[in-house]
């Protein structure tokens, strides 16, 4: 394996690495969305069971205030396409559960793609290493 081939393999590796990075970011976004939906479900359920309808409302910067939910039965929820609709508490929870299932399915797909990419990267890494070893053995200058 000559120096040019080694450089090409390095480029491939770099490119796969960039692709993998994008998929890792997507995984992170999906995970954040999933956790957020779980938190929303928990809040919606608690709202119905809390005796006087008081909840802690986060207002940013780590600050929260106690707030009374006037209509815990009615929830405004973004369903997609920048459209917000009013749903009952129960329906909103159902909707969020469906969303979680969708996100988990997407996470599975992204994870599969990442695994494939990592396997390809391992393969390239092996070839690069064996190329270096061959070059070292034959005393080739790799700089």
């Amino acid at each position: 394996m000559d120096q040019r081939e080694l450089m090409t393999l390095q480029n491939y590796l770099q490119e796969y690495g960039q692709q993998a990075e994008i998929f890792v970011q997507q995984m992170q976004m999906l995970e954040n969305g999933r956790l957020e939906a779980h938190a929303a479900i928990e809040s919606l359920e608690d709202m119905l069971t809390s005796e006087d309808g008081t909840v802690l409302l986060q207002i940013g910067g780590g600050a929260s205030v106690r707030a009374k939910v006037v209509e815990p039965e009615k929830v405004l929820i973004a369903i997609g396409a920048e459209v917000v609709v009013e749903r009952t508490n129960k329906d909103a929870i159902e909707f969020l559960k469906e969303r979680i299932m969708e996100m988990e399915a997407s996470q599975k797909k992204v994870a599969e793609t990442l695994d494939r990419l990592r396997a390809q990267m391992n393969e390239i890494n092996k070839r690069i290493e064996s190329g270096y070893q061959q070059a070292m053995a034959s005393g080739q200058d790799l700089d």
């Binding site: 490119e15 369903i79 997609g80 399915a105 797909k109 793609t113």
Partner: protein
Amino acid sequence: MFGGLREKLRAARNRLNSSIRAAETAEPQAPSPAPLPVPENGAAAASAPPTFVDKVRVLITERELIVSGKDVADALSELEMTLLESDVALPATDAIIASVESNLVGKHRKIGESVDALVEHALKSALLDVLGQGFDLKEYILTHERPVKILFTGVNGTGKTTTVAKIGSYLKKEGFSVVIGAGDTYRAGAIEQIGVHAERIGIRIIQHKEGADPSAVLFDAVQYAGSHKIDVVLADTAGRFHNKANLMSQLEKIKRVMKPDLVVYVDEAVAGNDAVTRAAEFDKTVGADAVVLTKADMDSRGGAAISIAHTIGKPLMFLGVGQSYDDIVPFEPEKVVDELLGGA
């Protein structure tokens, strides 16, 4: 691809079917005939004069039913929610609902005709209306003066460079000669990335150093194509957001210098409605003649693919459906609709 939307459309279609059927059964029925012995010889029966049974059968099977707006209102409202939940943009959703409604309501249907066929036809024609015609790149190249210069634009990280390589590979396989202009001189490693792609698929690339003026690189690519009788120039550019004025004016300059025949906007299908909004902004600022959506294989909702053509009025050209160079498919509305409504 778009598996979630397919499932939801199946449910919406079943709901429409049952709504129409329920409305029909609620209507007063014709009196049922008294059972008569069935003649053993069919041929003899056919030539015999019409009996009372035949007359009643004609009355039932040829009577027409009319679907009213009330019959399908709930099912249409559910379909609307389904589409919005799948991130289909509001204007496209409205258009689909209006089309399905006009195809169903007031429709005269004979009892013998299948309700499912009626609903399928209504949904199919509504989806085809919003999906538009698609864009046949091969046909475009064959019917225009060469080199055909295609400029790719879009936001960062949506797979623009990979898409350029995939389209290059596709066109090469279709027998066209291609040159790639490495116009992304901004992002670190972008020139090497497109260089690796070009080498792998055996396409000539024109590149300058990182940080060079992209207009100059792409101008050189066009010059090279002209002097070497190349069919197509694929011009990669750096990803940018439409609200960055200086980067958008750089794109304007690129357009002035290389005079592209087609400006193709690239975004990812998984971005859903965001992709539609961004495409509209790009179209407003630098123009777009067609759209490519990447990562369609990862997109379960299909919102962007369904609504982009209708919302921005520009056709979808390709869908990116995987990691390898062959994983790009020309967007054919009929195929997409058949896939979405298939197996229902």
